[in-house]
Symmetry: C2
Subunit: 332 residues, 2 copies
């Protein structure tokens, strides 16, 4: 049987169809509708899954279920997504599993987008050779996950917030409202705020010109990559700063956890690739208690598809408990 | 059957005899011989186990084995302890399991002293109600351990080095040679170096007067406690600094691991007790991504006996593999 996975993001919806070995047989990628509320977003997810199935020459009868990786707070039992500020018009707590199941007629498995992305890298991507790893996903923010004995360690439900390890006491302001978190140095949103602050103080950069030329309203990963390629001074400084912070936080995490590998993913991490991962490793080593046993630091291998592939992986864990109707709990 | 445990330290050897429920039936505590080399230390361990057995009205026939918690690097297969700088005249790699087994005639289980101390707190002490915890042991240095699903997570063998999480980039010099590690702020050796530095710069403190009155050559945990009780300004400042660093490092660790509890142990941690743990929790909360879900921060419950009790716990894991003579591998 096949499995479908959907990565629900604020700007795009990515769907994949995978076979039992995790091979991608088909996929679809569409923009997240910005003006039709959560109902429009859910309708777009349904359409995207159908389109991915068509590209795989498969139908809903061939799939065991659909996994969905979503931002915000997931209530697995209720099948809802709350506090998803990145999603357009996503007010309060929105039922997702129920409506999707009604439209698609297969079990739906909801999970956190970063957690499924980390598990995809662990099982199918750069972390595959290792039974323990730390995933650090640099996108708008910095998320992450810890894999121990080949399983995601969730703690009391919120483990993996590597983006909020403190790298500099009383340091840069983080989008979370605190100071000195890793995300304040290595998250795209915070890096853009810092770039604008420097421009306001009379510094020069090509970042915003490149952004406008690309027709973007935000300094995207592609904008950062282009500015670096043009040797833009400010972009280079801010990426250096991100590398420093990522090296420091990874070193503290590795001293604590002694994992075999650190996998750098997310939009920015994937875009900057292996040279970025190599620089993070070099920045990490001076802070390691056992530098001679420095872990591998690798760029995420699955790129844009990782989130959707990880969401699909969640479906295999679906074993309907006795007296229950599968993954959709008390939906009506 | 009973189990014996020995905590081998640079200044004292602590032995306990525990029953299958982990109850302490007898114990012995003697100074570590300082001038008889490793042979003298091993002979003292043998004497201490015999003395603990006598105090429990038991004999070697009643014990399943002896667990030993030792500093330095443990080679479990070879039964040796290396790089144990805290132990007197401990040069190179010293066989420990072999000589002890020869003298006592029971299986010997060697393990890292901090790791057994953390496991004792998890299974029999402050961490008992929780299946996940972080142990932070503040003594001469700062060691620690991570318990996940009721088991110690060792990573590639060196996990738990919470003392070398970086709390201040380019900060205070750590005994490990790096800068800004937690241990540079919360380890007794580093705190004493800092106090001497401040005295050299003309600052006043009662720390060294109290030390001399107590007949100590080092600023022990008792000296710190006494100076605090006398409202010594420098001692208060340095303990405040340690609390700050412990709060910061625990917050980063909790954001990463989301454990249920943090247990503060070690000589200094146990001596300063619950008020110290409460202050660390207060210092941690502002840096937590989910402050409303702050973990418990507890003072270690087993005190001075924890290490020896944890060493005894190791014996229960001893299942001689087929064709093997138990825990003593290739000893002769």
């Amino acid at each position: 049987m096949l499995r479908a996975g959907v990565d629900l993001g604020g700007t795009k919806i990515q769907s994949v169809i995978v076979d039992p070995e995790g091979e991608v047989l088909g996929q679809d990628r569409i923009p997240t509708p910005q003006d039709q509320g959560s109902a429009g977003v859910i309708a777009a997810m349904v359409a995207s899954v159908r389109s991915a199935l068509a590209s795989a020459n498969a139908s809903l009868d061939d799939v065991l279920g659909v996994g969905v990786g979503a931002p915000g707070q997931i209530d697995h039992d209720d099948g809802t997504v709350s506090h998803a500020g990145n999603l357009p018009d996503w007010l309060g707590t929105v039922p997702v599993a129920g409506p999707l199941r009604e439209a698609l007629g297969v079990p739906i498995e909801l999970a956190n987008d970063v957690q499924v992305g980390v598990m995809a890298e662990s099982q199918l991507g750069a972390g595959r050779p290792y039974s323990s790893m730390l995933g650090i996903f640099c996108g708008t923010g910095v998320g992450g996950g810890i894999v121990i004995n080949d399983a995601l360690w969730l703690g009391r439900g919120a483990a993996g917030e590597v983006g909020h390890m403190v790298v500099m006491p009383d340091g840069a302001l983080c989008p979370c409202g605190r100071r000195g978190c890793l995300e304040a140095y290595a998250g795209r949103a915070a890096m853009e705020v810092e770039a604008r602050r420097r421009v306001d103080h009379g510094k020069h950069t090509k970042l915003f010109t490149i952004m406008q030329k690309k027709g973007r309203s935000r300094v995207s990963s592609g904008v950062w990559a282009k500015a670096l390629a043009k040797n833009d001074h400010m972009a280079t400084e801010l990426i250096d700063r991100a590398v420093w912070a990522l090296g420091l936080a990874s070193a503290s995490a590795v001293n604590l956890l002694d994992v075999e590998a650190v996998v750098i993913g997310g939009g920015l991490g994937c875009r900057l690739g292996t040279p970025f991962a190599d620089r993070i490793r070099a920045a990490m080593i001076p802070h390691l208690i056992l530098p001679e046993k420095a872990p591998q630091v690798l760029s995420a291998a699955l790129g844009d598809l990782g989130g959707a592939m990880g969401a699909a992986l969640r479906v295999q864990h679906t074993v309907p408990p006795p007296g229950n109707i599968g993954v959709v709990h008390e939906e009506d």
